[in-house]
């Protein structure tokens, strides 16, 4: 595995399988009374969050703690520009404390990649601007895999269609999912009004459709993206009502879904807008599975980057290759 996890494209199909398999084992540990594993004892993980995120941050925090790493959270909210400190100075200051892994969330695309060029620590992208969110794509894949395996333990991703619906332009979750699902071999269909399709989407490894209805009946998973409040006033579509009619997972569309198909949503949901309450709470919904798998998948990611070989451990903190 590469030294950092910056993009879902950094992972080979075998590495994805390895991460998801280990996440299964980690998940089993979570049902024990004592959840802690000693795997990363003595290692230090810093969650460096330039943008608020309670869910992702606590998920990484628990992941590190359950692996016995020392975890600290640093909130660097507000742009470093306004504080007069450069991103490089902030990152170097944190890294200078002797950190093994930096989990970085930033409101600007590319910030974790830049940081990875300045420090020795392993860098995990916990969401950067409108670019990527690779661990979210991993946990989505984990939840989908569980769902597919429950019906058919020998299922193949190549037979599955995942539709990603909504604000693709501004979604880092969508970008990471497209890349990861391509690696896994699934068919991906992107659905959005033309105003919310990213420039150059035609060159992405996915099909593009501006009409949700034909897709509803053929998809094995409908992944509904959150519509951000600022898009509603940004002229991307006329009204929320019109968006729901065109692109929401309404009760009517729910009824037309393929038998056995699932519903995913990276959260938080706008019930009544991109997803109806019936859909959110239906048996087909993976939403809670996605959240539940977050910690196990992030444990697996941290272990893959930091755990591993004796050689690595012997090299001491911040040095050596990854397992």
């Amino acid at each position: 595995m590469k030294r950092h996890l910056l993009s879902a494209a950094d992972l080979s199909v075998d590495e994805v399988a390895s991460i998801l398999d280990l996440a299964e084992e980690m998940s089993a540990v979570q049902s024990r009374p004592v959840k802690k594993l000693p795997a990363l004892r003595g290692r230090t993980v810093v969650n460096l969050f330039f943008e608020d995120s309670t869910r992702t941050r606590s998920s990484f925090e628990l992941a590190g703690k359950w692996l016995s790493a020392d975890v600290i959270n640093i909130s660097a909210k507000g742009s470093s520009v306004s504080k007069g400190e450069s991103l490089r100075d902030t990152v170097l200051t944190v890294a200078a404390m002797g950190v093994d892994a930096l989990v970085i969330r930033h409101m600007a695309s590319g910030a974790p990649l830049q940081a990875s060029q300045w420090v020795d620590a392993h860098v995990v992208n916990a969401g950067d601007g409108t670019h990527e969110h690779p661990t979210q794509a991993l946990l989505d894949a984990y939840a989908m895999r569980r769902h597919f395996r429950a019906a058919d333990p020998g299922f193949s991703w190549a037979d599955k269609t995942v539709a990603v619906v909504g604000d693709l332009t501004h979604s880092r979750v969508a970008r990471s999912n497209v890349l990861l699902l391509r690696t896994l071999g699934a068919r991906v269909v992107l659905v959005a009004p033309p105003t919310l399709l990213p420039s150059g989407v035609d060159s992405w490894p996915a099909e593009v459709c501006t009409d949700l209805d034909p897709v509803v009946e053929s998809a094995d998973v409908l992944m509904m993206l959150r519509v951000q409040r600022e898009r509603m006033s940004g002229g991307y579509f006329p009204t929320p009502r019109e968006y729901t009619v065109g692109y929401g997972l309404t009760r009517d569309r729910l009824a037309r879904m393929k038998p056995g198909a699932a519903i995913a949503h990276p959260g938080p949901m706008n019930r009544g807008l991109e997803i109806s309450a019936d859909a959110a709470d239906s048996a087909a919904s993976l939403v809670l599975d996605q959240v539940a798998s977050g910690v196990a998948v992030r444990m697996s990611v941290l272990y893959h980057l930091l755990g591993g070989s004796d050689e690595d451990a012997a090299a001491g903190p911040s040095k050596g290759t990854t397992a």
């Binding site: 520009v81 450069s86 490089r88 100075d89 600007a108 830049q114 601007g129």
Partner: protein, 425 residues
């Protein structure tokens, strides 16, 4: 101030003629009149060209002397073969009054290694709301003729019309930074296309430039005024300019060296050194710009030399300052992209980098042919000299050099301004 006497022997002019040049009293004199024992510079194998004129320089002084000063910026200019630079108005304070313009001109006289010509703001504080004192700047001792809100677009159509009309009284020219702020707003930092979509960077669509230029050329026709378009970056704008020139509209345009060489792919690693406004464009635009400069649709080269302190560039891409250095490498980039491929002759190059910019800016003592009686502003060029660009090897105070590590022509051997050497290799 003394003007040394120097005999340059055996230089070739842009048209290929071999000649000696006698620099005396700040002007070119008849070489036959050279006194015995005069200091001589053997220029065998070198080209002698008129000193270059940059329509678009950010000197940062006053206000950001940590990034550049008039001294360091003009030393960089001299090293690039320039003998005059137009100093953009977006300093602190903004050059939007006669006093501010005279201050910049005075700094130039005191510290300049090249002629420093202040550009006046079009609107007060570059705010785009109210005309700056254009007439007072024109009447001042700085005699401002070029007005620009560069960094921001004069977006209000009525204000742009008034500015164009008003500067006609003193043969001024409005140099527009063409960027529709509704189509390319504060988040726009990457050419809108496949790369911006993939990297999740705010898109800066090509039409945000060309639609403003399309409006402005029609305003220039209506007002019978002179319009200059800064840093043309798109094929669409080249088309609009071609149309406007065919109509006889008084529009001129410049292109930067970096838009002639670098493409959007440079930002794939999110390195803010490549963050520039307007953004680097894909190759089809680069080719259209080269063609436009070759056929004269684009009149001139302007470097948009934009020094930035290191800490203003070491932010996330979206947060970092816009701009890159350009003065020292401009001629090398032009040789690489235009002369060596045969798109421009050396004589054409002199037009685009010296004579035409001087004419646009109304500089009588710049961009003149190298003939007896003319000002001794010239650059000696070794067309075969190449180098690996090293950002540390620079007169600029800043290091945001987008060509770092790239091999480029590095042709400037010596620069003379008013007969005095301002750079010698």
């Amino acid at each position: 101030m003394t003007h040394p006497t120097l005999l340059i022997t055996g230089a070739r002019l842009a048209d290929g003629r071999r000649t000696d040049l006698l620099l005396a009293g700040g002007r070119l004199a008849d070489p036959a009149s050279a006194p015995a024992g005069v200091e001589t510079l053997d220029a065998d194998g070198l080209l002698a060209l008129p000193g270059l004129v940059d329509l678009h320089t950010h000197l940062r002084e006053p206000g950001r002397e940590d990034a550049e000063t008039v001294r360091t910026g003009t030393l960089a200019a001299a090293r690039g073969g320039y003998t005059a630079v137009l100093a953009m108005a977006n300093t602190n304070p903004v050059t939007d009054t006669a006093e501010a313009a005279e201050h910049v001109a005075a700094l130039g006289r005191r510290d300049g290694a090249a002629q420093v010509v202040p550009v006046g703001a079009v609107t007060k504080g570059l705010a785009g709301e109210q005309l700056a004192e254009l007439g007072l700047m024109a009447r001042s001792s700085a005699a401002v003729r070029v007005f620009s809100d560069d960094g921001s677009c004069v977006h209000d159509s009525r204000l742009m019309r008034r500015a164009l009309e008003y500067v006609r009284a003193f043969d001024g020219v409005v140099a527009q930074h063409a960027q529709d702020p509704r189509l390319a707003g504060p988040d726009a930092c990457c050419h809108e296309g496949e790369v911006s979509g993939r990297l999740g960077l705010g898109g800066w669509p090509a039409v945000a430039e060309s639609t403003v230029v399309a409006r402005d050329v029609q305003l220039a026709r209506l007002t019978r005024s002179r319009l200059h378009v800064c840093h043309v970056s798109t094929a669409e704008t080249v088309e609009v300019l071609r149309w406007a020139k065919a109509q006889g509209i008084a529009v001129t345009a410049e292109v930067t060296p970096h838009h002639l060489l670098l493409t959007t792919d440079a930002v794939l690693g999110y390195d803010p050194v490549f963050k520039v406004n307007p953004p680097l464009r894909p190759d089809e635009h680069v080719q259209a710009l080269r063609q436009g400069l070759a056929d004269g649709t684009i009149d001139a080269v302007g470097t948009d030399h934009a020094p930035h302190a290191r800490h203003d560039k070491e932010h996330a891409f979206a947060d970092a300052a816009f701009g890159m250095l350009g003065l020292e490498t401009a001629l090398g980039v032009l040789v690489e992209t235009m002369v060596e491929p045969g798109l421009l002759s050396w004589s054409d190059l002199v037009e685009r980098m010296s004579a035409t910019p001087a004419r646009i800016a109304g500089l009588a003592e710049q961009g003149r042919p190298l003939a007896v009686g003319e000002p001794a502003n010239l650059v000696l060029v070794d067309p075969t000299r190449r180098t690996i660009v090293d950002p540390a090897d620079s007169f600029s105070l800043s290091r945001n050099n987008p060509y770092a590590g790239r091999e480029l022509p590095d042709p400037v051997e010596a620069t003379f301004w008013q007969g005095r050497p301002t750079f010698r290799r």
